[in-house]
Symmetry: C3
Subunit: 393 residues, 3 copies
């Protein structure tokens, strides 16, 4: 149904409206430390409809090799309702939807914790995002504080597809004007985080499709303690600016050189690559060795960006097997759960980094001081992740 | 229905065909001044089918924050038939479809006037473009002339989705060979421009969706004369070359460095960013402050690119409220019309540009000489636009 | 159908798993010379579902001007079942799917031969790829050998959409560890290559759509021997790294600067543009002059990349008409077959290259020594291609 409306013709107006330098406002976004109140829930703007071409484009861009994310026929033959959005895309979108409110003023992303993927995102699903403030830690006058938040991604049926926690470093407001508020709400929005959440998996078919995945990445191929050095690296180009926009992240550090070059310290200079993209590339570089035969990414925790990356950096990845166990219940016949540590390095091949730094690459950077070990400048990322992986049978 | 055809095997031929340096042609496109005849109508080649992933990708790339362009569910809940193509995408595509004929030889785009969006573009719509020559102004031998053209974008039902006028600066043919002609036509194609055109809007629902748009950009939030300084800038990268292709623009100035560096004057050097993309980025940078709650972009006029941009430039935007009035008829209960002046600057933040140049940013560059004011080198764009914006109620 | 599964909570594990520098593996891909055995058939991983937005995006990126690839309505009016995937996209995807097995270790791609497009690829088609080893030529100890392979692209109905042959230069294994094997197979997979294959064309309508294609590229417009100098060039940017990923090509030479700068010789330095992309750009630059009115790309042969390209290079194209004949059978009433030689140059306009090198541009680089002619450094590509082109009638 449509209505035909005639509007008055547009006429030039600028000259006729008085110019007044005082009549000005500066909307700005994100929050200062004082603007986070534990218990508060934020509903994030916009939402994001997943279209299949973008799902495939995301998986391709970050070289996610699992056919579930690029081959609609394979996904259906595996029991899914259709092409599956790459977990990295879901994570990047859910996080980015919250940036305008949660972290557009953040000075640093300190860590990702307890991320759980709870159900598939399919084509035409529309994802929204909500955040709850868990904790605010002040560290004294003039010092930035630390805020702990939890974020949920919800689909159009209000089902949680992803939940995770992160910590961010945020400056105090000082004498600066407050940021743009969210719409006032008389009731606090529901925040359906569940600690021991169930995962909605498809009913898997008797036999999963064969021939389109590598032979060396089934459950039986992984033994605890094993280190896997992934062969190729990826040079990150200026593409990262539009890719940041593509997932909806609004932090100017990632795409506004006037802003980034005006900062002081380690972040000053060219725009910094949004960490979610770095994580996605590293995971993609690892994928044909570790996740091509996975049917579900369970989640990740203890994720830290230990050094920033900029355009021109080449990133590479290593994985280490932390655990391998049967899947629960009936799933055990076909699947096991493998936990990996994923490590990123930059401007050195993964093989050379391993030759140079050895197993110290797998020691958390935050623990190094206590262990009297040197931090590794070439190391950019560390995380633990769990996958549900097909058994060879 | 399909037919199975056997073709002769391909055999190598190049060696057997006589090489003759005289048997050569140089097809070239666009038109010289003499090749524009007022009254002439051109039907542009190719067309463009809008797929939803590209509609969303466009909106994301240029940071258009209105959920109508990125959230299918929101668009439907707002009364539209589905995801709505961003007005900037429609404009860029309709203009670009005409470049091969209208302006591939143009030396400059002098201005956009009287653009009117007349109906939504939805997924799977196929848009064609037509141009009519309105005026040709010669300025003496050896000098480029000025051509005024009107362009229409039509959907597959021959309905006009956008119409606008622009002026371009075009060199005379001199002793150069003519450009590639359009197919000869015995009848002049119809050109359904309507001066006081009706806009086909959806029937809006009783209540529009809430929660996914910001609280400070409803009709009531805008007061005439107010200046809004938009917080973030966007660094334009070499992405602009493929983005020019993405909308179908064929002018080599934007993607052929051999061509651009062979020019003389201000345009010489790296490829110049196609102005439509600059406009799109500026509008996107303004969008969360001014258009997130709009339900229709009525159109724009008096649009001028006052300085070119190249890869590496960071652009930022300011808006000024020029008018705010009720929508006509029954629409007034829910909507108002707000006119904005949109200004672009480069390589300076919008806040700093405002601190430095003040309200002179909002004086048209073309008027500055008469007003004895200095032109502003950092200013790249100026335009007036009108939006139909939701009332808070 | 879905099942709700509760997994144990993820706990941090890295500290608890013993670090052992000896427990390491280095999966690597591609094959060494000895790992190619004539007669062997490889089934390539992943597959690729074609979504319409990516089909259009590919055609736009490489400026393929034939409306069949960008205008769904036009494709249907031309007798096709919907938007047609650009032949260049099909070729790039089919080849890239095989890179991980066939050529991720290749030192050079020596040539493309006997490529035949056998049926359209439509939206939602899922393409897989298979390769058969045809020949292995050793050239002595310490020297790389030459492998001839044939590759097929199959759709979800096991119909061949494209078949072609290529030669690659591959180093011997020496004392290096073997590459990652394919899954063991007790039976050799079928390899449905057909030498004199039939092409599944649509039943074309009585009259093909008019007005959206140029007037100078119908069958009657091409005369044997004629050289066509295409007007515009295209500067290739760092976009080529993600574009290589976009088609699924896994060779690090194209996106890993640590790898590419560690090479010796001509390939050392910045990542080399994947040749399939160069071919696609050249074909796109030629398309509005030669293929806008084609209804089928029959195939190509004798394709050679004679110089590599890197980011920043500007490529341009020339075509030469090698043959023009009626289409077979009933098709002759509406269509002719035109064979073209397509030549690519870099960092010089096509017109200037022609002025400088004349018809020598069209002499195969590999024949120059025998003809006592100089090779042309600015020349990057040569190929012969055949198109089924509409007659003006």
């Amino acid at each position: 149904m449509s209505q035909a409306i005639r509007f008055r013709a547009q006429v030039e107006l600028a000259e006729k409206v008085k110019l007044d330098v005082q009549q000005v406002r500066y909307p700005h976004y994100g929050r200062y430390l004082e603007e986070f109140v534990p218990g508060q829930v934020f509903v994030h703007p916009r939402g994001f409809t997943f279209f299949p071409a973008q799902m495939e484009a995301f998986a391709r861009t970050y070289m996610q090799c699992n056919p579930l994310y690029v081959n609609d026929q394979y996904a259906r033959a595996s029991g899914f309702a259709g092409l599956v959005a790459s977990p990295q895309m879901v994570f990047n979108v859910v996080l980015s939807l919250g940036v305008q409110n949660d972290s557009e003023k953040a000075m640093a992303n300190l860590g990702y914790y307890d991320a759980q993927y709870l159900r598939p995102v399919y084509q035409l699903d529309t994802i929204r995002s909500l955040t709850k403030v868990i904790d605010r830690k002040e560290r004294g006058a003039g010092k930035p504080g630390i805020v702990t938040i939890r974020t949920l991604g919800l689909n159009q049926n209000d089902e949680v597809v992803l939940q995770y926690e992160r910590k961010i470093m945020v400056a105090g407001q000082g004498d600066r004007p407050p940021t743009t508020p969210l719409p006032p709400s008389t009731v606090m929005p529901a925040f359906p985080w569940v600690d021991a959440a169930e995962v909605a998996l498809p009913e898997f078919p008797e036999s999963l499709p064969a021939g389109l995945t590598g032979p060396n990445s089934c459950f039986e191929d992984f033994s605890v303690g094993e280190i896997i050095v992934h062969a190729n690296g990826r040079t990150i180009t200026d593409e990262h600016l539009p890719l940041t926009y593509a997932v909806g992240n609004t932090h100017p550090l990632h795409f506004d050189r006037v802003f980034s070059s005006g900062l002081s310290g380690k972040m000053s200079g060219d725009p910094i690559v949004y960490g979610g993209l770095v994580f996605a590339w590293l995971e993609g570089l690892a994928s044909r060795d570790v996740s091509e035969n996975s049917v579900w990414e369970l989640g990740f925790t203890e994720g830290y960006h230990t050094q920033p990356s900029v355009s021109g950096d080449t990133v590479a990845a290593l994985s280490r097997v932390l655990a391998a166990e049967d899947a629960p219940g009936d799933l055990a016949a076909k699947f096991g759960i493998v936990s990996f540590q994923l490590i990123g390095v930059k401007n050195v091949s993964a093989a050379r980094a391993f030759a140079q730094y050895g197993v110290d690459l797998f020691v958390k950077e935050g623990d190094k001081k206590a262990l009297a070990k040197e931090k590794i400048d070439a190391k950019i990322f560390e995380i633990e992740r769990r996958l549900l992986i097909r058994k060879r049978g």
